[in-house]
Amino acid sequence: MLNDIWLGIKDIWNEKWLALCYILFFLNMMFIVVSTTDSLYREKMEIEQQKAQDYKKFETYVIGMQPEQPEEFLKNLSDIYQKNAFSYCHVQLQAKTIGALDTYIVFGDVPKKLFEKKLEKNVSILVGSGLAQIREITVNGKKYKVDSVIKGDTEFTTLDNATEFTDNKVFIIISEPQILEWVSPENYDVMYQLVKNTQILSKDKDRETQFLRNVNTGFLDVKKEKPKDTEEIAFILKFIDPFLVIILLSCMLCTTLILNGMIKKRIREFSLHLIHGALLTDIFIRVVTFFVVILLISTGIGIFLGIIQLEELWFYALLETGIILIFAGILTPKLKRQNYSLNLRDGGVI
């Protein structure tokens, strides 16, 4: 068996150009498959997530310089966030020793799934693991003790579709908000952020209506977020699975064609070995080694170049096993039918 494996590796050297072509083909194919399916699946997941979400989001556009009555505007928002709704804004807090701190101020009735830690106080301060040394923070001249250090990411990071790490971030969560105590009525950017990041529980229609009425002033134009699955995307997504299957099948077919060429070229040598005592199993191991080594090299390069992610290896293992099995299924009966002595005379025809 070791001899067969060694001969398989030697075949790669003898067929180095074919092997190289195949590696390039495989990487190209994988690149296309991975990038296409990855983006399409993300799209699909996003749509499904959107459909499944309990909370409604809003599209917000700035149409004016400032709200007519900023204080009233913030007061109305405070009322909205008392129950079944929340929002957040992103600000920089200045710390004496470590400079600016990325801070999220979250107002309202925050869903439990967003933060693992139970939030019981009106104002809770959470910090990322990179800021574990901070014991208290001062906001608007008032000191607040840090309640908890977040270990790992929280669901919060996905709120605005930004998969940011929470390591160096501060979260101030205010459950019964009086926004005016925290935000200056002149800070229009924060007002815009709060409206843009508002989420309201889907079943609370009254709150949604109230919110839209309050915020649609000369300052902002706010609409309910449109569902993403327009007809075009829905059409593409409907066929993503068959598309993936077709891509994989063509990958297998091309592999079979390319490597069939290799077998044709080496059939004379295989016949010679069979005449001198090799079993079909020996030839099979040799050819499979040829395949496996090339596929391993391709996969290795794919991982090195970042085309293939380690967590996707199972997929490639499955694909490569499929390719090998298909090819083995074609090769074995072909070899059985061969007239070995004729192959030695004519150079071999398979």
């Binding site: 001899n3 001969l7 003898n14 004379r268 040598e269 010679l272 070995h273 069979l274 005449i275 001198h276 005592g277 090799a278 079993l279 079909l280 020996d282 070995y340 002595s341 030695l344 005379r345």
Partner: protein, 222 residues
């Protein structure tokens, strides 16, 4: 080692026609026998040789090797016999052009009982017999026709087989080289082994004590 062929017939079938390559051949060979099979092209000489060497499958009749019917042998046993009992020499050398002399000659050793560490010594030993020991690492594509045929003979002999089957071993060689090649084969075969040669050119391959069989239309004449 003894070979017994009884009523061996081989018919090649294609979509439109059937060709009888070997028809009802009866033949026996024992240790020390040297048999030369002659005949026109298409007379069935090579097919008969291939049946003896277990290369050809699907024939009719009974072929016994040392009393055991070959047809009943399992695939693995048959491969073992092809490896240990037979040494094959082909007209067109049948060498792997990309490989060296060593790589070519060691092919039968890959599937036998010889230890890997002994491969080189065994190959050297047999190359000495065919006077090619200095070319052990040379690519066969860089060698002359005569040298290539000697490499093919070395490959046939490396496993010390008891039956040598040579199909037109001198077909592509000049007179002098052909004689040298035949000397090597006869010397190896001596009195203990069977040598079966298929040829067009009786004069070049005939030696004292060799029995000549003529084939015509798949049958042994006379």
């Amino acid at each position: 080692m003894k070979i017994d062929l009884n009523g061996i017939t081989k018919i090649y079938k294609s979509e439109n026609m059937q060709t009888t390559a070997v028809a009802d051949v009866n033949l026996s060979m024992a240790e020390g026998d040297k048999i030369i099979i002659i005949g026109e092209s298409g007379a069935g000489k090579s097919t008969l040789l291939n049946i003896i060497g277990c290369i050809e499958r699907d024939y009719e009749g009974k072929y016994c090797l040392d009393g055991t019917e070959v047809r009943t042998l399992k695939r693995k046993k048959k491969a073992q016999i092809m490896n240990e009992v037979f040494g094959f020499v082909f007209q067109e050398y049948a060498l792997v052009e990309d490989d060296t002399v060593y790589e070519n000659v060691k092919i039968p050793l890959l599937y036998g009982e010889v230890r890997k560490s002994d491969y080189r010594a065994r190959v050297k030993e047999v190359l000495e017999k065919v006077q090619l020991e200095q070319y052990i690492d040379k690519k066969v594509s860089e060698m002359s026709g005569g040298q290539r045929q000697r490499v093919a003979i070395a490959r046939a002999l490396v496993n010390r087989p008891s039956i040598i089957l040579a199909d037109e071993p001198t077909g592509a060689l000049d007179k002098k080289t052909a004689e040298e090649v035949m000397d090597i084969l006869y010397e190896y075969a001596d009195e203990k082994r069977i040598l079966a040669i298929v040829t067009h050119d009786l004069q070049r391959v005939k030696r004292e004590g060799a029995k000549v069989i003529k084939m015509e239309h798949g049958k042994i004449q006379g």
